[in-house]
């Protein structure tokens, strides 16, 4: 108690006034066609919220609440039903697919930066894997495909005069009847 009485009072430090946020520059970012096709802004907010809430059990309910679905009196069961219907809506699922692509593409620069950091760090246990990944993309391994094409030649040779003469000559040489009753195809007919 004595110590408390003797201790000098430390003046309370006043917090500085918060800096006013500068107005955002207008960014002409647009949603994709599937997001635009959603019936309301709340649906769009739900789709975006699904990427922000903590993943796991109840994530869809939390995203639905963030997007403004339900009322303060809505029971957990009602909110679960709303969230389930939203996540299984065909339009919402198509919007998810569109947003998946956007998020993955937006993550690419950071992934590349991390990969660059990885290959610069020889002490990393995945150093060799990082190098291999880069080399695979810069100098892809050559693969050779052996494709065996079997072609059964149809009887396509026309009974041209030349073939006819050859048959007659060989048949006479072998002393067998030519047994060929087709007349040689004229050049005009052969061209067709």
């Amino acid at each position: 108690m004595m110590a408390a009485m003797s201790a000098p009072e430390v003046p309370k430090r006043k917090r500085a006034k918060r800096r006013e946020l500068a107005p955002l520059e207008p960014i002409d970012a647009q949603d994709g066609p599937k997001m635009k096709a959603l019936p309301s802004d709340r649906h769009r907010a739900f789709v975006r919220a699904m990427y922000q809430v903590k993943p796991g059990h109840g994530a869809a309910v939390r995203a639905a609440k963030l997007a403004g679905f339900g009322t303060p009196e809505s029971s957990p069961q009602s909110m679960a039903t709303i969230a389930s219907r939203l996540t299984h809506d065909q339009r919402v699922q198509e919007a998810f697919a569109e947003e998946d692509q956007l998020y993955i593409r937006a993550s690419a620069p950071r992934a590349i930066r991390s990969l660059s950091a990885l290959i610069e760090n020889p002490n990393s246990k995945d150093h060799a894997r990082g190098i291999a990944m880069v080399l695979d993309r810069v100098h892809p391994m050559e693969t050779v495909h052996n494709v065996k094409v079997e072609h059964q030649a149809a009887s396509s040779m026309k009974a041209t005069a030349e073939v006819f003469e050859r048959i007659m000559a060989l048949a006479a040489r072998a002393n067998v009847p030519p047994m060929i009753d087709v007349t040689p195809v004229t050049p005009q007919k052969a061209e067709r």
């Binding site: 009887s155 396509s156 040779m157 026309k158 009974a159 073939v163 006819f164 050859r166 048959i167 060989l170 048949a171 040489r173 072998a174 002393n175 067998v176 009847p177 047994m179 060929i180 009753d181 087709v182």
Partner: protein
């Protein structure tokens, strides 16, 4: 008429006795390389096939194959002498189609097989008589 071996694979002594018992045609056949047996049977088969209607390119192919069999030994006259194969010989050849080329050649080298073909088509032995041998068969005999 070529006599069949019975049994086909004889012991040495019996084989020598069988050789001593050959007729002229059997000796001529035995002294002909089995590859030519095969060629003559193929010629007979092709001649039979050429009796049916077929596309001109296929006919030309068969005629070329048959004419290509002619060489220094199997003369043109011998090729011309072979008659078309009969129905039974064609059926026997069809049965052999399922065999591999090795098995087919092995089968075609057997005495009883060529003897059966020659008996069905005696022109084969007549064709062999027109072969151009470099050595005298009679000297071997």
């Amino acid at each position: 008429m070529i006599r069949l071996q019975d049994p086909e694979l004889k012991p040495s002594d019996d084989h020598s006795a069988w050789q001593a018992d050959w007729t002229d045609d059997e000796r001529l056949l035995a002294c002909t390389a089995p590859g030519y047996w095969h060629d003559l049977i193929r010629i007979a088969q092709i001649k039979r096939l050429l009796l049916i209607e077929m596309p001109p390119d296929l006919r030309l192919g068969f005629l070329q194959t048959m004419n290509n069999r002619v060489d220094g030994t199997l003369t043109l006259e011998a090729m011309q002498r072979v008659e078309p194969a009969c129905d039974l010989a064609m059926k026997m050849l069809d049965e052999m189609n399922s065999l591999s080329i090795d098995d087919k050649s092995r089968l075609m080298r057997r005495w009883n097989v060529i003897a059966t073909f020659v008996n069905l088509n005696p022109s084969i032995i007549e064709a062999i008589k027109l072969f151009n041998y470099r050595h005298n068969i009679s000297a071997v005999a």
